[in-house]
């Protein structure tokens, strides 16, 4: 019996048949939908490389069963930029050299977007580092990552400040 699920990925509604009910959201994205920007670092919820937003909240796609995301809204790294305009977090990662090999980067960026929308880290570097500690960077580009998230936070709160 093939189960099929409906979800929205980066704003596009999809209906995907699931041959194996144990397929993870990560494999669904990478292997069925062809979105390979979300990376597989450990496949067991311990590195953060597979971070995506599920209804706006950051999650590890490798620990999430595809069958459980029926009816949800998933955002991956491919859906972050608006056309040619990078999301502020993406731009900040380039500006602050927030990576070396780049393998953790998409997960870091999605995690940072999630962290900023959670809104409790504020502009405190200590809490940002804590909030980003689920995303391992083996190249240890941590200073750049922290600086990028701080900068994106600042820009975001500035623009919120002016728009209110």
């Amino acid at each position: 019996m093939t189960l099929s699920i409906s979800l929205s990925v980066n704003g596009e509604s999809l209906n995907v048949p699931l041959e194996d009910t144990r397929t993870t959201l990560l494999d669904l994205l990478r292997e069925h939908i062809g979105l390979t920007g979300t990376k597989k670092g450990c496949d067991r919820g311990q590195c953060g490389a597979c971070t995506v937003l599920l209804d706006g909240k950051r999650i590890n796609a490798c620990l999430t069963l595809a069958a459980s995301v029926d009816g949800t809204d998933v955002t991956t790294i491919e859906g972050l930029a608006q056309g040619d305009t990078l999301h502020p977090v993406q731009a900040a990662f380039i500006e602050h050299d927030g990576f070396q090999c780049g393998y953790c980067t998409t997960g870091q960026i999605m995690s940072a977007v999630g962290l900023l929308s959670e809104g409790d880290a504020g502009a405190d570097p200590e809490r940002i580092r804590e909030g980003m500690s689920g995303n391992i960077c083996r190249c240890a580009a941590y200073p750049g990552i922290t600086a990028a998230v701080l900068d994106a936070e600042r820009r975001q709160s500035e623009s919120e400040g002016t728009s209110v």
Binding site: D20, R30, G34, L35, T36, G37, T38, K39, K40, G41, C42, D43, R44, Q46, C47, A49, T76, I77, E78, L80, A81, L86, Q90, A91, F93, I94, E95, D97, F99, Q100, C101, G102, Y103, C104, T105, T106, I109, E126, R129, E130, M132, S133, G134, N135, I136, C137, R138, C139, A140, A141, Y142, P143, G144, I145, T146
Partner: protein, 808 residues
């Protein structure tokens, strides 16, 4: 000029949008097959029966490959032909590949691989250093010894003598992208392999051997790796060869990537070491003589262990002028993963040995640990390292190279030796224990600067005051220097090639033998090309490393990537530039030497052309706009058996001060602050270099503090996932982290006088270990003899030792 700029990585935009492709992201045909290895469950023994019926009949399985299905070479060793891809007889560690499942999906292959029924005749495994010594289980015939003067009598006549031992754990690479390869069969039996490897030529060589074809029938391509750190110098051979065999057998594209657990269980790691030492000092702290015995646990096959252990010996002096030294090295063979290259390649372990000696001596003499280091330093080069031209190597190595037939010449594991005539090292003045003159030393001045900028003296006092008030949370501070030798110690590997095309529209296509793993090599090399042609970086396109474009490359390793490939690219660009200049000069009856390439234009006399116009003129004038470039490092001559000569082109330097806090009740600890001053010569790209320094420090500190590998009594690796193996996270980096580049040029003639920066900063992490030792030593009166990694448990035990208690 485009050199010396803090430009971001060439693929920055691709990385932040998820468009940067790694091997596992390459689109494959729908009928692509996936591979998984069946692994040994015992550490040592022989296979008496192998029943794979259930594997073969499992859903999705297309075929199963065993050693019997390999008509040609069954070997993935980069050195000694002692590592079969698949074993059929002897089993040498838990996790050794025995058979390979080829199935329609990754999951199907992995599931089927568990269904084998294998029986073994199990034997007593050799796991520890003690086991190996007792059984005399080793590589090479006996220990290797390098000597300078008579260490034993120097120690014998010294006022103070210390002795001790330190255990130094290994390290898992945990490149975030696991090992991966993809093979696509071509017409005529040819094979194209995409591999996440630091050494495409090695992959090509191994695949060709396994398929029984010449190297020209195999093309290997590597665009980028998601981290390498040495773990992809030889450890990717298995996957690439397996994919090629399966692709040959099935005629279909085949892909293999290790699941993270498999990756940690199958592949080699950093060598763990035990180092014992005896050293003699005078009252001022000046060392008179030192003896080291280094025991390296190499695992079951030779892999790159010989050059790794050699490099540990070559760094046993670190920054110190040792009047007499004896370094003995045992390369022990054990039934564990075959230890392999890892950033620093043995250098870090050797350096920890001498830094321990300095730390221990300072404790015994009650001296400031920085002062004892300074009084033992090599002397600074007078003019900032721009020393007098050195003597050329006594005899060109090429004349005396004698490759053995069929040897893996492109690997650091090759045993080819340069035999030097005794007594011709030609070095004068201060020399290392292996007889190389140290002429570019700058750590004296660097140390002065760093002590000032980090406020070392004041902070040391302030920490002492804090510790006097706070018995529970104690703080510690330490300084450590790095002097790291740059070059492959296997001299013939110090060569590189490049291929450059200028198209008629002025765009430039660039290829070289180095691979990109995040270190920013492609960016640096593109900067060199853009500078040579006087154009913007956007005019230069770097393409994936490809054995079909640049052949016979060395691994991107030994920090040599930009030194070697930058020079090769420069040579290729200059060839084309000279041709273009000659052509334009002729049209204008000018001297070719006066033609200038700058600001995207080519200037001849009063005239100037856009670079694109100049390229078009050259094309129409029938001038070749394509060239190869080649470079070989000069002045090297090294005899690794005698331990004498000049193995390195130059040294790279760095220094760090780290402050830590330790909870004396639990041993828990954290790094509070790190200050680093590092020498990248005239940096090609300060932003990338600072990234390498920060990353290297954190990875080095991780190795010596939280990253602990544990094997159980049956030889099973118990720490095979990030849940049990603690890699530094964002929250573990120092709260205050100041990194600066030393201003200075490389006195050696390197590309734009820059210095290699991949490995040296890793060893700055030693200062974190020494800071923990400092905090712990303050807890009692005895020397705590901290071992690495200094996990919370080890710190807690060491606190006990400092207090004269035994804790286990």
């Amino acid at each position: 000029m485009s050199v010396a700029k803090p430009l971001p990585h060439d693929a920055a935009h691709l990385h932040v949008t998820g468009a940067a492709r790694y091997v596992d992201d390459i689109p494959t045909p729908a009928n692509c097959l996936h591979l998984a290895f069946g692994l040994s469950e015992i550490a040592f023994g022989t296979i008496t029966d192998m029943n794979l019926d259930d594997v073969r009949s499992a859903p999705g399985v297309v075929t199963v490959i065993t050693a019997d299905d390999m008509p040609f070479e069954n070997d993935v060793s980069p050195s000694n032909h002692d590592e079969p891809l698949l074993t059929s007889g002897e089993v040498n560690y838990v996790g050794q590949p025995i058979f390979c499942v080829v199935a329609t999906s990754h999951k199907a292959a992995r599931k089927a691989a568990r269904k084998s029924r294998i029986t073994y005749d199990e034997k007593q495994a050799i796991l520890s250093i003690e086991d190996a010594l007792a059984a005399d289980s080793r590589f090479e015939e006996g220990p290797r010894v390098y000597k300078k003067g008579d260490a034993a009598s120097a120690i014998g006549s010294a006022t103070h003598v210390i002795e001790g031992a330190i255990d130094i754990g290994g390290q898992e690479h945990f490149y975030l992208e696991g090992q991966a390869a993809l093979a696509q069969p071509q017409e005529n039996g040819d094979m194209v392999v995409m591999s996440s490897t630091q050494h495409p030529t090695e992959i090509q060589h191994k695949v060709a051997e396994a398929l029984g074809v010449p190297m020209h029938a195999v093309r290997v391509e590597t665009r980028r790796m998601g981290g390498g750190f040495g773990g992809k110098e030889s450890q990717g051979n298995h996957l690439a060869v397996a994919c090629a065999l399966a692709a040959r057998a099935t005629g279909r594209t085949c892909k293999m990537r290790y699941d993270r657990d498999d990756d940690m269980v199958i592949t080699g790691k950093r060598h763990d070491f035990r180092i014992t030492y005896r050293a003699g000092f005078d009252d001022t702290g000046r060392i008179k003589g030192v003896e080291f015995v280094q025991y390296a646990r190499c695992g079951w096959s030779q892999d790159l262990s010989i050059p790794v252990a050699d490099r540990a010996m070559l760094h046993a002096d670190n920054a110190y002028d040792l009047p007499a030294a004896r370094i003995e090295s045992h390369r022990l063979k054990t039934n564990t993963q075959s230890a392999t290259a890892f950033r620093g390649f043995g250098g870090p372990q050797g350096m920890v040995g001498i830094e321990r000696v300095m730390d221990h001596a300072a404790h015994v003499l009650d001296m400031d640990p920085v002062a004892i280091r300074q009084c033992n330093y090599y002397a600074d080069a007078e003019d900032g390292g721009l020393s007098a031209p050195r003597k050329p190597a006594a005899s060109p190595p090429e004349d005396i190279l004698d490759p053995k037939k069929g040897e893996d010449l492109a690997s650091r594991g090759a045993a080819t030796e340069v035999r030097q005539k005794p007594g011709d090292s030609g070095a004068e003045g201060q020399t290392t224990p292996y007889g190389m003159a140290v002429t570019d030393f700058i750590l004296g001045r660097m140390t002065g600067t760093l002590l000032k900028t980090s406020g070392y003296a004041a902070r040391r006092d302030e920490i002492a005051a804090w510790n006097a008030e706070n018995p529970v949370i104690r703080r510690g501070i330490a300084f450590s220097p790095v002097k790291f030798g740059i070059s492959f110690t296997l001299t013939h590997l110090n060569q590189a090639g490049a291929l450059v095309h200028v198209y008629q529209d002025g765009s430039i296509h660039l290829n070289h033998g180095g691979t990109e793993m995040g270190q920013g090599l492609f960016q640096k090399v593109a900067q060199v090309a853009a500078a040579r042609f006087g154009v913007g970086l956007e005019a230069v396109r770097i393409t994936a490393t490809d054995t079909g474009k640049v052949p016979n490359t060395s691994a991107t390793a030994a920090s040599s990537g930009s030194d070697l490939n930058g020079m090769a690219v420069k040579a290729a660009c200059d060839t084309i530039r000279d041709r273009m200049a000659a052509h334009l000069a002729e049209r204008h009856q000018a001297d070719p030497a006066t033609v200038r390439f700058a600001d995207g234009r080519v200037h001849v006399g009063e005239e100037s052309y856009s670079f694109a116009e100049a390229a078009e003129y050259a094309y129409v004038g029938r001038v070749s706009l394509s060239a190869t470039g080649y470079y070989r490092t000069p002045d090297l001559s090294w005899d690794r058996i005698r331990g004498a000569g000049r193995p390195f082109f130059y040294f790279a330097y760095g220094a760090a001060v780290t402050e830590v806090a330790v909870d004396t009740l639990t041993g828990e600890n954290r790094i509070l602050r790190a200050d680093i001053l590092h020498d990248a010569g005239a940096s090609l790209n300060p932003a990338l270099d600072i990234g390498q320094i920060e990353g290297g420090y954190v990875q080095g500190a991780g190795w010596l503090t939280t990253e602990e590998l544990v094997w159980d009594d049956s030889g099973r690796l118990r720490t095979h996932a990030p849940s049990t193996y603690k890699i530094p996270a964002c929250s573990d980096r120092p709260d205050v982290f100041n990194v600066a580049l030393w201003e200075g040029e490389n006195p050696a003639e390197t590309i734009y006088r820059s210095k290699a920066v991949g490995e040296p900063p890793f060893m700055l992490g030693i200062s974190a270990f020494l800071a923990l030792s400092d905090a712990v030593a303050g807890c009692g009166t005895q020397y705590p003899a901290l071992n690495a990694p200094a996990t919370a448990e080890e710190v807690w035990r060491a606190i006990g030792r400092a207090r004269g208690q035994v804790r286990s």
